[in-house]
């Protein structure tokens, strides 16, 4: 599947917007507080808002280029758009909504209708009217309708934000299924750090119309300089890991992180499964050497890579663990007394329970 290249400037509310990124296969999350310009970027890609200058290319097709005066109409861009509020046509049945691109948009080469209906579990809802659907069902229809428009790229504008927490967890697997089954690049706008941690392969961080950072999800989550934008309390590292063994007697799973071993409490793990873990910085403590007689079972030797101040009382510490990065947030007083410094070997202590598997996911098969 193709690649989306975006390099635009324009106006987003009161801010000047400047964005320059690429979105390849998988999910690229545009992350930032509301008003950062995330939705404006999506609208520019879809052709609903015109950038002041720049260039947008999808799958090798130039959609917009201010230099050569190209500005394709939205109908000709083949960009699927899943709106925050679903925007289903209220006067049409679910079936007519799903097939809209075919009968009204003349998009003939779409993927099989039955396949999409099965993927999103919409079979028994086809003859209903959108007004009778629940919020979650509505967003599933919106996902299906966009998929059936034969899109080169899928844009999702906070598709879960109108749903309550339980519904969100219901819909997330469908978004992941679309990513895995269709291989269409997805640009996913969100201000929810949990969603981004779970879904994103690539993250673009936006603030007041400016791009603060862009890169692989683990790299962005490991950065200490994005503190306020990513959220101080929620800041944490993303770790890709593999389940080695499960001990049902204690409800504990043994997890491999680049050769280091972790123990996690939690149900539903399966040996051999690839998982993504999110370990919050505030849940990680540091010791100068391995401890004995502790109830904390996870002690990981690692090297200090970077130290940054986080307010007057705290410091953030980045730790190298195999090929990955762990983060710890400790008081400045501890840091001084322990004489923590770059390059020093320490032991990271994390409680088994502090590792949450809810951001776990299957790793995609190699392409």
């Amino acid at each position: 599947m193709g690649v989306l290249e975006v390099s635009v400037t324009g106006q987003a509310g009161e801010f000047r917007l400047a964005a320059d990124f690429e979105a390849g296969s998988g999910i690229t999350a545009l992350f930032g507080h509301s008003g950062a310009g995330k939705t404006t970027i999506l609208k520019m890609i879809a052709g609903m808002t015109r950038p002041q200058a720049g260039r947008i290319v999808a799958d090798g097709r130039v959609l917009f280029d201010s230099a050569s005066g190209i500005d394709l109409a939205p109908a000709r861009r083949q960009i699927g758009f899943v709106f925050q509020d679903g925007r289903l046509f209220p006067h049409l049945s679910v079936r007519r909504n799903l097939t809209y691109a075919r009968w009204a948009g003349k998009r003939d080469a779409t993927r099989p209708f039955g396949e999409v209906v099965a993927l999103l579990g919409l079979k028994e809802h086809l003859d209903r009217s959108p007004a009778t659907l629940s919020g979650g069902e509505r967003q599933r229809v919106a996902l299906g309708r966009a998929l059936l428009s034969d899109p080169a790229i899928l844009l999702m504008d906070e598709p879960l934000s109108s749903l309550d927490q339980a519904r969100r967890l219901d819909i997330l697997p469908y978004v992941e299924a679309i990513r895995d089954e269709t291989r269409i690049p997805i640009v996913y706008v969100s201000h929810d750090i949990d969603e981004v941690a779970r879904l994103a392969d690539t993250v673009v961080v936006l603030e007041k119309g400016r791009m603060l950072a862009a890169g692989a999800a683990a790299e962005i989550f490991g950065r200490l300089d994005l503190g306020d934008t990513l959220g101080r309390q929620e800041a944490g590292a993303l770790i890709e890991a593999t389940v080695m063994a499960v001990d049902p007697r204690y409800g504990v799973a043994e997890i491999d992180v680049d050769g280091a071993r972790l123990e996690l409490v939690g149900e539903g793990f399966a040996a051999g499964e690839a998982v993504r873990l999110r370990i919050r910085a505030r849940d990680v403590a540091l010791a100068l050497e391995a401890q004995e007689g502790l109830s904390i079972r996870n002690q990981l030797p690692c090297a200090i890579e970077e130290i940054a101040n986080a307010g007057p009382a705290f410091v953030e510490v980045a730790l190298r663990l195999g090929g990955q990065r762990l983060r710890a947030r400790i008081t400045r007083k501890s840091a001084d007394e322990m004489a923590i410094a770059r390059g020093r070997q320490v032991v990271a202590l994390l409680k088994a329970v502090s590792v949450e598997r809810r951001v776990a996911r299957r790793r995609r098969p190699p392409q």
Binding site: A73, A75, R76, F81, A104, R107
Partner: protein, 226 residues
């Protein structure tokens, strides 16, 4: 129904239907401009459209006479260019009815277009629909209840039109004498009371049928959407 009564009723229906059929498309266009347009002079347009509603109908009729009369600037232009004559013809009665009914047609359509989410049209565009297709498959169906309401209101206004019609095209039996005009003429003669009453009852029946039909249609539309 006597032959004379039939003539009056058929002429009234013809005039009112022509007023709606030819008035509804411009009414939709103006309603769209007022609902979605962003231009200078929008409130002026709104005022001009509403004018026939507040002006004495006689004034509107006189204005039509000046503009569309045989020697009026628009009247002579239309006659020379297309051979269309309004003065003292049923077409003139239809024009008067259309002008009087126009604000009543515009208003409900305008409200229904304002209520239709523009975002739905954006969504249709991303799904490949052209502007024309988006209009036909999204805006028009969403605005349909307003169009129907406008047509019904306009029809009722057109059937009952009196002042502008009699001023513009006079009261010519078989040509411009619609139901209201015929009732008026009968009431002027000392022996016309009974005949007038028959026409009055006929007009009530006519309007009742129109309203029931529109209610039925509106309910069917609402049921289809829930």
């Amino acid at each position: 129904m006597s032959e004379a009564e039939a003539t009056v009723v058929i002429l009234s229906l013809k005039v009112a239907l022509a007023a709606i059929v030819f008035g509804i498309v411009p009414a939709f266009a103006v309603a769209w401009l007022l609902a979605r347009g962003r231009f200078r002079g929008k409130s002026l347009l709104q005022a001009v459209i509403t004018l026939p509603l507040v002006l004495p109908p006689v004034v509107t009729g006189y204005g039509l006479l000046i503009l569309f009369g045989t020697h009026g600037p628009l009247g002579s232009l239309l006659e020379n260019a297309f051979g269309i004559v309004f003065a003292f013809r049923w077409t003139g009665a239809a024009l008067a009815a259309a002008v009087m009914a126009f604000p009543l047609m515009v208003r409900p359509i305008q409200l229904s277009i304002e209520a239709a989410d523009v975002g739905l049209e954006d969504a249709a565009r991303t799904l490949g629909a052209s502007r024309a297709m988006t209009f036909l498959t999204v805006l028009l169906p969403l605005a349909l209840p307003g169009v129907i309401a406008g047509a019904i209101l306009g029809f009722a206004r057109a059937v009952g039109e009196f002042g502008a019609t009699i001023t513009f095209v006079a009261n010519i039996p078989g040509q411009t004498q619609t139901m209201s005009l015929a009732i008026y003429s009968l009431l002027q003669s000392p022996t016309g009371d009974a005949a007038a009453l028959r026409l009055i009852l006929l007009s009530i029946a006519l309007c009742a049928v129109a309203i029931i039909a529109s209610e039925w249609f509106a309910r069917r539309l609402a049921r289809k959407r829930s």
